[in-house]
């Protein structure tokens, strides 16, 4: 999944980008070292961030509030990316990115202009590339489907320095081999952007509903899951952009959360986790395991990391929910009390 990718990038970037931070120049790395954050998307009243130590013995709810008092992180927290000592929390409903120290969660800055419904971000060479959904076609039929863009943020100044128009819709983004790859379920392409020249390259047509994706060994895997229709796993060989597809049967409708770990491709349907080999030509239709989530809940946030599954239970999207940890065999390890709609896990290491 893109998360591991983020981390690699973030770590490599942190080697040569120095970040000044008034709060923690001389301090130890901070209380939130050696653990992970759970991003709670929240509701229209706002989202939150929870923290757990790697051994799950310490769980802290709402670390943003704990560190920053009354300051408000925003509504619909979508994504976190890292750069150096900083974590960047994207609040999609508030057009803001909160820049905090990743070890103390103290606010460093906010990126307050140049964002319109920001979604996901990646970092390369001191710059962040954040997709912006801009307007939607239901309110702006004329250009709602063609006005999405990438905000290019200078992480030295925490300002949007330019934007790259995509002439399409945009959502998830990953960085691979100096190229940005972008999917969105309401268009039929994987967009390709060269961040060096800030230009669009020839897109790869895969059909509608492409969403979660990851690169492994030069192959981009994209999971498609159309509403009330059969899904598909699309494999794109990035060297020559040739495509092969693996059809998903009806029993896997509503699949999502593609994550590749080792030589396994993991994906989820409702409360179940499935696994197939990267070399397999047919999907697995037997769950590896089914998580014991709340009655109406389903797997919302999902990551495979450190030989464990990290699962965020969407719950009813109105109440405080839980995150669940399982081992790779599907054996339950621990559940953690978190906030509303946990949608992602981000590791400090």
């Amino acid at each position: 999944m893109k998360l591991t990718r983020f981390l690699l990038i973030a770590l490599s970037v942190s080697l040569f980008v120095s970040c000044s931070n008034d709060d923690s120049n001389d301090a130890p790395k901070g209380v939130y070292d050696n653990g992970f954050f759970i991003l709670n998307e929240g509701s229209s009243k706002g989202g939150s961030v929870s923290f757990s130590s790697d051994d799950f013995s310490t769980v802290v709810p709402n670390v943003y509030e704990a560190a920053n008092g009354a300051d408000f992180a925003g509504v619909y927290l979508q994504n976190i990316f890292f750069n150096g000592d900083n974590a960047y929390i994207i609040a999609g409903g508030s057009d803001v990115i909160n820049v905090v120290n990743r070890y103390t969660f103290k606010l460093v800055s906010k990126i307050e202009t140049g964002l319109i419904t920001p979604r996901y971000g990646v970092v390369k060479d001191g710059k962040a590339y954040v997709t912006n959904a801009n307007t939607y076609s239901y309110i702006n039929p004329a250009t709602g489907d063609t006005d999405d863009f990438i905000a290019v943020i200078d992480l030295a100044t925490n300002k949007v320095e330019s934007k790259i128009d995509l002439n399409s819709t945009a959502n998830r983004i990953i960085l691979e081999n100096n190229k940005l790859y972008i999917t969105d379920s309401s268009n039929d392409k994987v967009l390709v952007v060269n961040p060096a020249t800030k230009t669009l390259e020839a897109p790869i047509t895969i059909g509608y509903s492409g969403d979660s994706m990851e690169v492994k060994d030069g192959v981009l895997y994209v999971l498609k899951s159309p509403y009330q229709n059969r899904g598909e796993l699309v494999k794109i060989k990035l060297s020559d952009k040739t495509i092969s597809k693996i059809a998903f049967p009806e029993s896997l409708d509503g699949s999502g959360n593609l994550d590749i770990y080792g030589d396994k491709i993991y994906y989820t349907v409702n409360k179940s986790v499935y696994a197939m080999n990267t070399s397999a030509t047919t999907p697995s239709t037997t769950p590896l395991f089914t998580a014991s989530l709340s009655t109406d809940g389903y797997i919302y946030g999902f990551t495979v990391k450190n030989d464990k599954f990290y699962i965020g239970d969407g719950g009813d999207f109105k109440s405080s929910s839980k995150a669940y940890i399982y081992d790779l065999n599907g054996t339950f390890i621990k559940d953690l009390a978190v906030g509303i709609a946990p949608n992602g896990f981000y590791f400090n290491e």
């Binding site: 307007t135 109406d296 009813d316 999207f317 109440s319």
Partner: protein, 617 residues
Amino acid sequence: MTLKRLSAFCLLLLCQIISAQKDSITSLKEVIVSDANLKKYSNSQSVLKLNDSVIAKNEALLTDLLNFNSTIYFKEYGRGMLSTVAFRGTTASQTAVIWNGININSQMNGSTDFNTISGSDYNSVSVKAGGGSVIYGSGAVGGTVHLNNDLAFYKRFENNLKLDYGSFNTIGINYKTNISNEKWSAQIGFSKNSSTNDYKYLNRYTWKGEQRWNQNGQYDIITVNANVGYKFDSKNILKLYTQTSNTDRNTSLITETERKSKYINGFNRNLLEYDGDFGKFRTNFKAAYIFENFQYYADNSKNQYTYGKTESLITKADLGYTLFKSTQINGIIDYNRTKGYGSGFGDHTREISSAALLIKQDFSADWKNEFGIRKEFTDNYKSPILFSLGSSYQLNKLYNLKLNLSRNFRIPTFNDLYWEEGGNPNLKPESSYQAEIGNVFTFKNMSLTQTFYYMKIKDLLQWVPGKNGIWSPQNTDKVNSYGAETLLSWKKHFSKNYFSANASYAYTISEDEATGKQLFFVPFHKVNGAISYSRNKISAYYQFLYNGFVYTQSDNDPKQIVKDYTVSNLGVDYDFNFLESFKLGFQVLNLFNENYESLENRPLPGRNFNIYINLKF
């Protein structure tokens, strides 16, 4: 007589002694109430009537009037912004707002925004607690709020002009004229309430240390009313009520970085009514056309919006017959056709017919019974048989016992049925059984009403996330609500010094049957009260509101609450006795500068001021 006692009690509550005296004088003249059934069929329930003198003392919009004077709980998305209610622990669409006898809750979302209504457009605003679907239809579950324009047939030419100017550039212009004789009666009104609404958030600063304030909160509400009645003779009266309103509001930001949006909504209501009184036989025919629309601009700076409109045609025939001296019977049939079209729910038409029978039997002056039954017919949903059963018994001078049992409902809205994507055409109406016991004690200068109720609601509509994250409404929950409402009023005068006081307290449990948790945004406790004093030309009052904490999540996470708050207002006015009445008034709102909010991250203003002139000529 219970009714007299009840209305006397209501007057007491109004804590306006001098005006109350005037009212009792004018009430001797013939006044035609717009909603006869409200008086006729509510002996067994509690009705709180707020007349124009109380309306004039409160802030212009209905949220403030009812928040400080009734047991209804309000939550506001900032001052003047969207405001919805919970009455007896029910949801926002389970309180019906009734305009001159016609249910005006939005066909699109089922509820009413109480900050789009200005109290001064009406002669009275009444709050009836408890079920009323037999008479008022969908949404009359927790209670009903009645906006009434009364037409009087006696010779007069009266004008009332109230001008307000307050903090945050809040301006109110409210004008009403009554022109009538024995044949004709006309009432024409205009109201405009606006504010730049840029108040500071108490003790809140941005991360840069700048004072936070209410950005993008400006509003402007304009309403025009024209009501005309013609009396052919003592038996036949024709009335026409019309009202047009436009609310142009931006929406307060909760973070400084958000895009600024605005919401414009309006309505046009027309009601033609005929009353025929032929001794034992009475008729009432109504035909109404109601139009409502909204436009939502997600970004102020762009001419891009989503919209919705509905047009409703309502026809109603109410035939009343006095069977015996003690027994009256009303048969009501109605037909309702609503056409809705919008960017969210397409283009649909809904037709609903219904038949109802109401019986009122007075065994004696002290013992009154009422019974009603109603059934709706429509292709859209299966409609339950609704009923109401009530009794009022005046045991002695001191004590009046009231009992009421009813079944009520709330029908699915256009959004629920047709929203794209997610609308569910297979929904059932929410329905409820409700029982209540009311005890009314009346002493010399004091009145105490205590009502205990129990309500079972099933098939509560909830939007729940489905596969692929598409949300869809389902008839999921069952809710049990119970509690007690206490209303207290007192008045006394010592020579020229008039005192009055009133208070209300609502204790509310409203729990999800499956989880046993309190519904979110239903406070366990709400208290309000007022004391007023007047002597000669001067009058002064103090009012307060205590709202207990509310959970903001269905799981009752104790960290996720809106804290309790107490807000007080102080007002004084002086009558210069120029013209019929020329009052100059001054109000301090939120006297103690309470830092509070009724919804998370939506602070309400600190201490602020209002000055007004109220002219009658």
